[in-house]
């Protein structure tokens, strides 16, 4: 296991635990394979890294430090979640598990069908038919076996494909096998990003969720989108504009990190599906308007302002971006005027 460094001090306890976990995966050869463990909840455990690590592993998978590979599927009790289950065929009528598998006999001469115990064995081999009293000696020409069927020793019901029932050893619940909860057990493999994090002994800065409220992107993400639009403009001459929305916070605002969700939703609802909204600072939002010229952007700006009403906390302005400098300029101006 890699030793902790000073960088660990800056991490919160959860992050520190996850980074340790990532290191252990790296030490285990880059892959964490489950091993059978009857006492574990799902019947498998990640023995190398200890117990109760599923949540942290899932978290690391979501953040792309680990990736999953299918290892096995485990059936669990829907009531208590235990994997200690007894699965067996039961009688479809009385639900008894006292079944025997028998081959039905069919006498060609009279058409009688029954289980072997109904036919009397005769001295020199073969059976005597209970219906016509004829002797059946030659399978295939005088009689035949009609496959195998399950015969209930409780109520006598014959079933070719009986239901499978599970009994949970932990909570004694009985349920049809198809009602069991099925869960997949994974092997966790370190990704290149995860390996980098282990080498650098820290997580990456930009690995928070890209979106905060549905479709409002964080600053790095929205700036990536702006870069992408600039590339499209240079290569495809696809014009685009941006809409800057400055949020004027009042003193009674309970949310210091941005406007209330309903204002953001109202703003978002007045945009097109293709428009991208991002948060540059706590009080500054940027909307990318693809395929939009200056005049159209200004018209959009007026329409949105009218739609939000006079009580809107946003101050809107629209600019068509033609070069990288335009963006730098408006971001600089916006930054200066930003009360933050």
């Amino acid at each position: 296991m890699a030793e902790s460094s000073d960088a660990d001090v800056a991490l919160n306890p959860g992050e520190k635990r996850r980074l340790d976990l990532l290191r252990q995966v790296g030490d285990a050869g880059g892959a964490l394979t489950p091993v059978p463990a009857p006492s574990a909840t799902h019947g498998y455990a990640y023995a190398v890294v200890g117990e109760d690590v599923e949540n942290d592993l899932s978290h690391l998978v979501r953040r792309n430090y680990l990736e999953t590979r299918f290892f096995d599927r485990v059936s669990l009790c829907p009531r208590c979640g235990s994997h200690h289950l007894n699965l067996r065929e039961v009688c479809p009528s009385c639900r008894s598990a006292h079944l025997t598998s028998e081959g039905l006999l069919h006498h060609f001469r009279c058409g009688y069908v029954g289980i072997p115990s109904e036919f009397l064995p005769v001295a020199d081999g073969g059976y005597r038919c209970p219906k016509c009293n004829g002797v059946m000696r030659h399978p295939g020409t005088e009689f035949d076996r009609l496959g195998r069927a399950f015969v209930c020793r409780g109520c006598g019901v014959i079933s070719e494909n009986p239901p499978v029932e599970a009994v949970c050893f932990a909570c004694n619940a009985r349920m049809p096998a198809e009602n069991l909860v099925s869960t997949v057990v994974f092997t966790y493999v370190l990704t290149s990003r995860g390996a980098s994090a282990v080498r650098g002994n820290s997580f990456f800065d930009d690995d928070e969720e890209a979106a905060t409220d549905g479709r409002v992107y964080k600053r790095p993400v929205i700036l990536e989108f702006v870069e992408h639009e600039l590339k499209r403009r240079r290569q495809l001459n696809a014009k685009f504009s941006v809409l800057l929305a400055k949020y004027a916070r009042n003193a009674a605002d309970p949310n210091p990190s941005g406007p209330p969700a309903q204002w953001l939703n109202r703003l978002r609802s007045r945009l097109r599906e293709v428009d991208l909204v991002g948060q540059l600072t706590d009080a500054l939002y940027l909307v990318i308007l693809p395929e939009t010229k200056q005049g159209q952007a200004e018209a959009t700006c007026r329409r949105i302002a009218a739609g939000l009403g006079s009580e809107s906390p946003f101050t809107l302005s629209a600019v068509e971006i033609k070069e990288q400098q335009d963006l730098v300029k408006i971001l600089g101006e916006a930054g200066r005027s930003d009360p933050q």
Partner: protein
């Protein structure tokens, strides 16, 4: 020649034939007793039971079509619906769904697939899944795919062996139980002497072709006759398309015998054990009947050969008065009559035609034709009133029905009787070889 044509045309006018009613008193004393014996009397024999049933129905409908009692679900005995079929993927799904959703609270379905080459089993399982929510056997549906083709009787025997109900209903894979039918079906079993109840069979695909329309009329005409026969305990067949039996009887009999027409054979065996056989007008099952002439002729030839094979050969002891009771002897005679009378009718018409001279032949034939139509109208109207079948749009077909009855059904049956009696092509194509070689009956 022109005189003959004029005469022929004049006999086509039904008004000129209304006078045949005067013929009855005349015929009683006429020099044509054969006409009276073989034409008028059989026709009356066919019509009068329907009229009698209708009169009873007019004054006491519940006697013909009793309403089912409103029983609590717990009091409903378990009914096992047994279906056997081979290559029935087109119809088995609706058959199983129809049975499971027929409104009877305590019912299970057992489907035995006779080694189908199509996807009957998969479709049956899908149908079961749509109702029960499980692809496996459940309390309500069990499916047995037979690993070898054994024929319908043996497949039904598998189903009977698997059934656990107090009553076992046997239906074809191309039939559908009408909602509420089972409650009607069980009513006659209140009499502990009743061993089997035949269902009221209606044609599901009537509008398809002209032949299916004719068959709808044919099935409807049989319905009122069956009510009459059941009342006097002379009903001689519980159709394999829809029949319900006391399970104890089927288990005691060991099910069907192989290689023979299953339904008629089983009915005869039940009758010989002195169980009563009843008919239920309210227990409606919808069947898919043959749509092509080839299919229809094959079906009727198969049925008729079985009549000869079973009634004349296997169960010939029923002719012995006193051995199985008067009713069974009557049934045997009636079955024999149904074989002999059409032949006799043909011979009498030919004889009358020759003896009366060529000029009288058209009058004889057209008189016969209009008589048939009048009888048909009466019987179809009665059937319509009691069973709501045939549909009114098929009534006009009564003018063509005699030709269907003679040239399609009559000739098929005559061929089958002769072929069976003369052992021409006696091997039944629908019986597997390994079964046929073991059958002792013929």
């Amino acid at each position: 020649m022109s005189g003959f044509l004029h005469y022929f045309l004049s006999t086509l006018d039904p008004m000129s034939n209304l006078g045949f009613s005067y013929a009855i008193p005349e015929l009683m004393t006429s020099a044509l007793p054969e006409w009276w014996l073989f034409i008028v009397l059989p026709f009356a024999f066919l019509v009068l039971p329907s009229v009698a049933v209708w009169l009873v129905y007019l004054f006491n409908p519940a006697a013909v079509r009793p309403p089912p009692p409103a029983l609590p679900d717990e009091a409903a005995p378990l009914v096992s619906v047994v279906v056997a079929g081979r290559n029935e993927s087109e119809t088995i799904g609706q058959c199983i769904r129809g049975a499971l959703l027929c409104g009877y609270p305590n019912l299970e379905v057992v489907f035995v697939d006779d080694n189908s080459e199509d996807d009957s089993v998969a479709i049956a399982r899908r149908a079961a899944l749509s109702v029960t929510g499980s692809r496996r056997d459940t309390e309500r549906v069990r499916i047995f795919p037979s690993p070898r083709r054994n024929g319908k009787p043996s497949s039904l025997n598998i189903g009977i062996r698997m059934a656990r109900g107090e009553f076992i209903a046997i239906i074809d894979a191309d039939t559908i139980l009408q909602y509420g039918s089972v409650q009607h079906w069980l009513l006659p079993f209140r009499d502990p002497a009743v061993g089997a109840v035949a269902a009221n069979i209606k044609v599901n695909n009537s509008p398809k072709t002209l032949l299916t329309r004719f068959q709808e009329i044919e099935y409807a005409l049989k319905t009122t006759a069956k009510v009459f026969q059941a009342h006097f305990n002379i009903l001689y067949i519980v159709s394999g398309m829809g029949g319900i039996f006391r399970a104890e009887i089927l288990h005691r009999l060991g099910g069907f015998d192989t290689g023979l027409g299953d339904d008629r054979d089983l009915t005869m065996m039940i009758r010989k054990q002195r169980w009563k056989v009843r008919f239920s007008v309210g227990a409606v099952v919808w069947t898919t009947c043959p749509e092509t002439l080839n299919h229809l002729v094959k079906q009727r030839v198969r049925w008729r050969r079985n009549v000869v094979k079973i009634c004349i050969s296997k169960h010939r002891d029923t002719f012995l008065l006193g051995r199985y009771g008067l009713a069974n002897a009557y049934v045997a005679l009636e079955v024999l009559g149904r074989i002999v009378l059409p032949l006799a009718l043909l011979l009498v018409v030919l004889w009358a035609s020759f003896s009366a001279g060529p000029l009288n032949v058209p009058e004889i034939l057209t008189t016969l034709y209009w008589m048939t139509n009048l009888y048909l109208l009466i019987r179809m109207s009665i059937a319509r009133d009691i069973t709501e079948s045939p549909t009114p749009r098929n009534f006009w077909l009564m003018f063509l029905f005699p030709f269907y009855a003679i040239f399609v059904i009559g000739f098929s049956q005559m061929y089958a009787e002769l072929a069976e009696l003369l052992r021409i092509g006696s091997k039944h194509y629908y019986v597997p070889d390994h079964i046929w070689e073991e059958i002792p009956w013929w």
